[in-house]
């Protein structure tokens, strides 16, 4: 089986024309049962399988899409974006799409690369620049945004229900009797931090709770930044009894700060995270966090993209994936 066989080989062996062989594979109902069998048999013998490149060439479509992670310093290592990637991959593989993955940094997706690699659609994860989006759209590359929204653009966005997640988390804290609740706002992406912050304020206000300027601290979305900020927050005389963290990494930093200050969790301090990443169960006590179904988000991205590519009208512009609070021992 050393050489790869082509449609011509099958044609010759089965005694029909290449056109018929082609039809037997892509439009089986156009060829008579008996002929079809002959073709399949020959194909089987030759271990024939159609050449996707030649197919793409003839059909003028490549079924090739890309997932670009737009977040400074982020890689596929980012558990959140990896989760989305997983969902995209699964769905793409199932639908026979070819998926190229990259981060903005090591492969700045430009119109010309998209063009030359014949990419038909792009899923932009995170903080995509409007200029990139409009360039791509100008070139008729289908674009879907995930975990982000950009005002003034007409394209499908897939996001998590941040507001509901925040509400569930904050209301759990309130329900457990907490009144002085702080927020540790790690700088994830502008969109996400904005949503979570807004929802936090809104929810606190609804419950008649004060949020002073010192109750919300910004910090870098990594352990060190969070530990530092949390230390400040928890060193205040009227320190909060609960901290709502913008994500799990920040929560881990809060854990470290608390422990170093001699506080016991969850007795002295309740902590809630966001993302429900794998660290939640590695921490002690285990971290209560808001689960985001990233895989589902990825799947939906591909579905929306497919719909765009098929030229469907009425592709939903906004898809919101539910979030769910996972209660563990940190509260």
């Amino acid at each position: 089986m050393s050489t790869i066989s082509t449609i011509y080989d099958v044609s010759r062996l089965s005694g029909v024309s290449t056109a018929t062989v082609s039809r037997a594979f892509s439009n089986p109902d156009q060829v008579r049962e008996s002929t079809r069998r002959k073709v399949y048999e020959a194909a089987e013998m030759l271990h024939y399988s159609p050449n996707a490149i030649a197919r793409a060439m003839a059909l003028q479509r490549t079924d090739k899409i890309a997932y670009l992670i737009c977040k400074k310093g982020a890689t596929i290592l980012d558990e959140f974006y990896a989760g989305i990637c997983d969902g995209i991959m699964r769905t793409a593989n199932r639908s026979d799409f070819q998926l190229l993955v990259s981060t903005e940094e090591d492969w700045p997706l430009t119109v010309s690369t998209a063009q030359s690699k014949q990419i038909e659609g792009v899923i932009l994860g995170g903080n995509a620049q409007p200029s990139l989006v409009s360039e791509l759209q100008d070139q008729h590359v289908a674009v879907v945004l995930v975990n982000n929204r950009i005002a003034g653009f007409d394209l499908p966005c897939v996001v998590a229900d941040e507001a509901s997640g925040v509400r569930q988390a904050v209301e759990l804290l309130i329900g457990r009797g907490h009144r002085r609740i702080a927020m540790l706002a790690g700088r994830v992406t502008p969109y996400v931090i904005g949503e979570r912050y807004r929802a936090f304020l809104e929810c606190m206000k609804e419950h008649g709770l004060q949020v002073g300027p010192a109750d919300v601290k910004m910090c870098d979305a990594n352990v060190d930044g969070a530990t530092e900020a949390a230390t400040e927050l928890l060193s205040r005389p009227d320190r909060p009894t609960a901290v709502f963290c913008a994500n799990d990494v920040v929560a881990a930093g809060t854990f470290k700060a608390a422990r170093r200050l001699g506080l016991h969790l969850p007795e002295d301090l309740a902590v809630v995270g966001f993302d429900d990443s794998s660290v939640c169960s590695m921490l002690e006590p285990e971290l209560t966090s808001v689960n985001i179904n990233t895989r589902r988000m990825g799947e939906l991205c591909v579905e929306r993209l497919t719909a765009l590519l098929e030229g469907e009208k009425q592709v939903p512009r906004l898809t919101v994936v539910p979030t769910e609070l996972i209660i563990r021992r940190s509260v």
Copy 2:
């Protein structure tokens, strides 16, 4: 700029033949300076960029490679395999390779899929089955193994220097005065666990330290499995004073078990992990762990694969990437 331009358009606008245009792009030194400029100018005006599909068709090479994660239950979410993936992606993008990524589960790579998708080379991560390897090799698909070795196959493998990593970790513990050192062997992949276990025994023996059957505990490579196993291990009357963990997740489980048993880290128990994953700095105390340069491993995979595809003789069969112990406060 709505329609995409082809080499014919450039040919017409610049007044030279398509052959020359083609050469101007792929073999610039074969065309005279002045002609080249005309061609580039026309291309610029038309926003021309060569069609990769057509190119692949003519050249009979696709520059398409795949990375397949072979580990039950594993996804791209696995930080270790994601790190490798990151390295692969960067290098692949730089060298103009197209990369398809998948896990064994949701896209069982078969010879026919490899064939029809025109995949020229495959990087198999983790526990690849020999049967898959030989099938692929039979079809002349280039194969590189990463984080694994299979006896009896002639192919490049890229692995970490497990033995050295283990030695550094264990010798650190011994250097700090520990004598009763246990190993918590999470079932990662057969190859990896085998290497780490063997190296552990060897190193202990060299230092004249006993390793009883109760001193090595197998467990699932997740937090719960590790917590359970660690609890048993640490409940013994003559409990070890240090635990060498097969990876960081297992170490996190050990942390939890220790804390629940009222042990203080690092005073009552020293813990060392493996992989130096992101959780290391999230734990309190921060986890000492063996760093594996996964990105480098990924890069090397692509380099080896490229070498195979270019038909180079003497592609190294074994590439060992150094490991480095990162000392933190858990010891």
